[in-house]
Symmetry: C2
Subunit: 394 residues, 2 copies
Amino acid sequence: MFNLISLKNGIDNVKGFNSGGVSAGFKKDGEKDVGFIKSDTLCDISAVFTTNKFQAAPIKHFKKYKEDFQTNFILVNSKNANAITGQRGIDDIDFIFENINIPDIINPIMSSTGVIGYPLQREKIIDAVNRFDLNSKDSDSCARAIMTTDSFKKEICLKVELDDGSFFHIAAICKGAGMINPAMATMLCFIVTDANIPKTDMSELLKNSIDDSFNAISVDGDTSTNDTVFLIANKTQNSYDKTAFREALNFITKNLSLLILKDGEGSNKVVAFEVDGALSRDEAKRAASALSNSLLVKTAIFGKDPNWGRIASTIGASNIACDEEKLEIYYDDILVYSKEHPILDEQTEQKASKVMKKESYKITCKLNMGVFSYTAYGCDLSYEYVKINADYRT
Amino acid sequence: MFNLISLKNGIDNVKGFNSGGVSAGFKKDGEKDVGFIKSDTLCDISAVFTTNKFQAAPIKHFKKYKEDFQTNFILVNSKNANAITGQRGIDDIDFIFENINIPDIINPIMSSTGVIGYPLQREKIIDAVNRFDLNSKDSDSCARAIMTTDSFKKEICLKVELDDGSFFHIAAICKGAGMINPAMATMLCFIVTDANIPKTDMSELLKNSIDDSFNAISVDGDTSTNDTVFLIANKTQNSYDKTAFREALNFITKNLSLLILKDGEGSNKVVAFEVDGALSRDEAKRAASALSNSLLVKTAIFGKDPNWGRIASTIGASNIACDEEKLEIYYDDILVYSKEHPILDEQTEQKASKVMKKESYKITCKLNMGVFSYTAYGCDLSYEYVKINADYRT
């Protein structure tokens, strides 16, 4: 057994890590846009990157290091993704790391988010880095420095207490907002831990954790060039248990995913789409993801319209085995469609509409074909989404 | 050689066909919602239906007839899709055809569009049918009877003159608006001809024509339960030429597709997405369709923002062979990205913005990997789209 205790102040709790952020002038009103995470000692690092074919320069720069390299410094910036910037994008990162006044940094990593296709303003970034307080414990500023269209910062920390009296921490900051889909779009997440976790466990647990969290959410179905999740371990605490670590990591990634969704551009609601009784997990996932990505479903959610026909139609279009005679659709626990109840009566419609007024709820589709299930998470599509994305660069 | 001459009044021109429409009271203000197409003689018919697994009752009813059956009557209605209505939906169609006062109808067909999951109001439809003027030539009323969120009716007619002095007509009415994507969603199209076309040519030419027209357009990427394209030939004219028929049919389906897109819910613009230089036609099609479906691309089009990064990112996410060093992106003939011109200068940005102010324009992505190309068509995503679909049933 083990205890998971939620702590404030994100990665400030994790032994041996410092962090912070300053303004380089990229954002308006002196808001922070360049930040760092620094470890007193060398860290193992596991990464999961975007599946986009045009991987951004920071990802290419990361991949220049040898396998199983260790690092003690991560530099982050917003407002410029340093993507589709060619060799210049990679050279700019090298130039920055060669020209900053930070002693003893080893294999430094950069991570960027923002607009595609413009070169980094490297002098401004160097100037910002030279203003870092490297001894600060300021997770808040670092979390703010990676925000783009996010309306609130996202950080989380768990203290994990084991039965032997030992304990360790896992904490994370991340940014999300638009362009979030099952392939983890425009999403940066930095997870740091002081647990004494073996490198082999890091990769395995991180990959599995992402499949049911960041890869299960959809804001708009787009996949960016920069998506990155890092798990960084400095092993400062002499404490580790694989099961406990898995639980804590899954808790963190799942909850950050839901925060991203809640903060989806212009989004007001988080809806879980559970598809049960599919012939395979892959089919369940395909149908659930189709629901979370459908514009017509999203707009019906925004309009609080229990139009289950759009749910059924989307399931039918997702190219999975299904049968309208076996299908059941629920809004939370309100049955809105089955072969026996094919027509939405007024009373049921009122109950379903009431469910749809909640900030978050679940739409369940029981296929009754097989035994596999998957839950994807989506949000509504609002006027605000269109506005934010029509004007993104300005 | 042959001449294609555009005529007004849609299917009124086609010899041996009558059509019309009345109000059954489903729409407000006495707008037409039930219509018909009737032929003096029996017709061959070819059909292409939705790929949605939950095919609507009218499609199941059609499939009960023997292969190569002939018909002389098509009944259409809007406001109710008769989809996911089980056996009752099929029985309702039979009931309607058994209880209307029209002599000599053989193998009648029904086609419906509207909300999913409600039984047809069959008595109201029967009453409406009994008010049809079966001798009317009123393509306009029939085209209006199938409109849902369409803001204008869609009809088209070509007279095809052959070198031997003979001629025939092809005409069509269709409805589209939302839920249009490369799998032909919420789209009904009735193409009628008096050409003496062999049945084998009908199926072949219809299928090929749809692949580059209705299947190449996207309003919101959803696929409905009811999509149908019929080609109906009464062979009243002793005239036919396969090449001429193909050209005329392709002209009609392509132009109706563009009308549907122009009328996409809340849409203001039609954009052609041409992907050139792909390794296969399939890859070109996948990338072009991804562009026409991307929410971020659609909102950038709405915002008239030449943010080519979103174009590149969407290409990169579409899982095709591509290379940022070989990629070129154009807005009409304005080059906005290539390896040699990676940064959007102010002058080019102004030129590209000017292109984006046009009602229709083309975005070309030259992959420079292979020789295959495909053009998909999309529209913008506006506040209006969200509004229409949030309130669809009310």
